[in-house]
């Protein structure tokens, strides 16, 4: 399979995995392994000082996986920038999944604050992977300010509804010069395959794996679906049967010379 290249770094896997909502660190680690992923997203939270349990970070082998901190919880650009700086201080990693979600119900990304934050963070040296609604104009504006990817959502996060924004993501893929990672809302391996067949460069999955009855087995199913979808995209899909028409109403004039 061809390599995924983000900000000059090569990845063999085109599946990014979110680490939230797992029943245990062990199941999370086993799922990461089964998925074949090389990029795992993590969030930042305050330590519960009355009950400082062990950090989950120990469960993620950072030699195998690139840690991709996100800015979840940020409600505006300023909060996202603060979280980004904290994430870099905590991990030494300048990769960042930028998400700004002012609404507490659907967690839909704020396009204006995201663009503002992206512009500043790119200047501060971050490799920015912004989570966005499937908005082609926003995607181009983010590319213009120097983000490493765009990550349009397929459906509201956690809904598992599949490629509900397909028509807009088609345009984003057609216009983008940076990798397009379809994020959020992909509930089944077939949804991931659909995104990859369309020409998405990668997908990010969290809820669909973490909340499956058997997350490890589902992680492997997504791995296969992403590979199959990418291969189908590269192979060039066959069309529906072509039917020739006998008459030539449009081009007949070419023969009447």
């Amino acid at each position: 399979m061809d390599k995924l290249i983000i900000a000059g770094r090569e990845f063999s896997s085109r599946l990014l995995i979110g680490t939230g909502k797992y029943s245990s660190n062990k199941v999370m680690a086993d799922s990461l392994h089964a998925s074949g992923t090389e990029i795992a997203t993590v969030a930042l939270r305050r330590v519960d000082i009355d009950n400082p349990a062990d950090s989950m970070l120990a469960a993620i082998d950072q030699k195998k996986y690139l840690l991709l901190p996100n800015t979840s919880g940020a409600r505006d650009a300023q909060e996202a920038i603060r979280l980004a700086r904290l994430a870099r201080a905590a991990s030494g990693i300048n990769w960042l999944k930028l998400e700004v979600t002012p609404d507490p119900y659907y967690l839909l990304p704020d396009p204006i604050e995201t663009l503002k934050a992206a512009e500043i963070l790119v200047k501060e040296g971050f490799i920015v992977l912004p989570y966005i609604n499937a908005d082609p104009v926003l995607a181009k504006k983010l590319e213009d300010v120097g983000t490493a990817t765009v990550m349009p959502l397929a459906a509201p996060i956690g809904t598992n509804r599949g490629m509900t924004t397909r028509a807009a993501i088609e345009i984003i893929i057609a216009q983008s010069n940076i990798p397009v990672v379809v994020d959020a809302g992909l509930g089944l391996p077939s949804h991931a395959a659909e995104a990859m067949e369309m020409g998405a460069d990668a997908v990010l999955i969290n809820t669909a794996i973490a909340t499956a009855a058997d997350p490890v087995m589902m992680a492997e199913a997504f791995k296969k679906a992403v590979e199959a979808g990418r291969a189908a995209y590269l192979a060039g899909p066959a069309g529906v049967k072509f039917k020739a028409s006998a008459s030539s109403p449009l081009t007949g004039f070419l023969r009447n010379e």
């Binding site: 181009k140 057609a174 216009q175 983008s176 010069n177 940076i178 020409g199 060039g236 899909p237 066959a238 069309g239 529906v240 049967k241 072509f242 020739a244 028409s245 008459s247 030539s248 109403p249 449009l250 081009t251 004039f253 070419l254 010379e257």
Partner: protein, 379 residues
């Protein structure tokens, strides 16, 4: 990702005679073409375009025309845009072997003062046109940013869009033009084959292939909304030229997403004092195939057909995939106001009046659009 079009064409070996592509296109089968035509709304790829312009696809012209027509109506509606060229100077310091403005041509030269140009433009406006294209030979001393700025500021009062088809400029000069209200650039590369380019443009500033090919980049960076590409059909193998032009267009569309790419299809026509021994002349069927193939790869690109083409050919193509036509065009400076015998750039073939052509467009069930956009909304 950040390669320039020069590097892209070099890497893909599309800046030469494209031998390997000719070989590959010759091996494309009818089954390959049928497979390609069965894909609905497929995106551009070099492979798709090669299949659609291959010799095998000549047997599927009717189906290509049918799909091209459907796609054009779907994206543009049943409308045809009208525009008219305004030739302001036929002085030229270039030596293009195919052109009537060639500096070695001893025919009389004319350049219009601003007032003379406005007089021609008034006639164009009175015919109903609201889209105008300023055309000039490479006459930098006279037709510079100062002239263009002054002219554009006057034209703005009467025309909704103003484009230029002149020599390549710096980004700064393009910016000056856009500020003055010029919002479209037409810059035909003539040929993407850099060796043939050198041959056909032996001297003068136009001999600089790289500076010319990067003009749309500079213009788009300066804010031009429409970028017109074209190859002079007849200089080199049309199939290879189509692939190179498509790569150029694809690159521009992705990089300058605010600008619209338009394709033109200038065919070599007899001009004064130029030789007539072109080996790659393009016939009507070739040209229809080329236009339809580009439409099937670029659903949203403008396709322009000028009065170089005969009336009957234009009438048929209106029904397939053309979105813009010129009408009533004079290709000599001052041609609208006087009958004076100044040097024409080329001979036109469709000499019907704009009104006659508009009538014909209507008879096909299309609306003839003299303007579709008002500057007042953006300036």
């Amino acid at each position: 990702m950040n390669n320039s079009i020069i590097e892209i064409l070099k890497q893909k070996q599309l800046d030469g005679n494209g031998e390997k592509y000719i070989e590959r296109m010759n091996s494309i089968s009818q089954a390959d073409v049928e497979l390609e035509l069965s894909k609905v709304n497929a995106a551009y790829s070099l492979e798709r375009l090669m299949t659609l312009i291959s010799p095998a696809a000549t047997n599927y012209l009717e189906e290509m025309a049918r799909q091209a027509r459907q796609l054009t109506i779907q994206r543009f509606g049943k409308t045809i845009q009208f525009f008219e060229p305004l030739y302001v100077s036929n002085f030229c310091i270039n030596s293009c072997r195919y052109c009537g403005f060639n500096r070695k041509s001893d025919a009389p030269r004319t350049r219009l003062t601003i007032d003379e140009a406005i007089a021609d433009a008034d006639i164009i406006a009175s015919e109903g046109f609201r889209n105008i294209l300023i055309v000039s030979g490479e006459d930098k001393e006279h037709i510079g940013t100062e002239y263009l700025t002054k002219l554009a500021e006057k034209l703005r009062q009467k025309f909704a869009t103003i484009s230029i088809e002149i020599y390549p400029m710096s980004q700064e000069d393009y910016h000056t033009c856009t500020v003055a209200g010029i919002d479209g650039l037409t810059m035909f590369q003539e040929t993407y084959n850099s060796i043939a380019y050198k041959y056909y443009h032996p001297a003068g500033p136009k001999s600089e292939y790289n500076f010319r090919i990067l003009s749309p980049d500079r213009a788009a960076s300066a804010g031009m909304r429409r970028l017109g590409l074209g190859v002079l059909l007849g200089l080199c193998d049309w199939r290879v030229e189509t692939l190179a032009m498509a790569e150029h267009s694809h690159y521009l569309m992705k990089k300058y997403w605010r600008s619209q790419v338009n394709f033109s299809f200038p065919r070599i026509r007899p001009a004064l004092n130029t030789p007539h021994d072109y080996k790659h002349l393009v016939n009507d069927a070739d040209m229809v195939q080329m236009m339809c193939a580009l439409r099937l790869c670029f659903a949203d690109s403008g396709i322009t057909l000028s009065t170089r083409e005969p009336a009957k050919f234009r009438d048929n193509l209106i029904n397939i995939c053309v979105t813009q036509i010129s009408a009533g065009s004079k290709t000599n400076p001052g041609g609208y106001t006087t009958e004076k015998d100044s040097l024409e750039q080329f001979q036109i073939s469709d000499d019907r009046t704009p009104e006659q052509i508009a009538q014909l467009v209507k008879s096909h069930g299309y609306e003839a659009v003299f303007k579709d956009w008002d500057r007042a909304f953006t300036k």
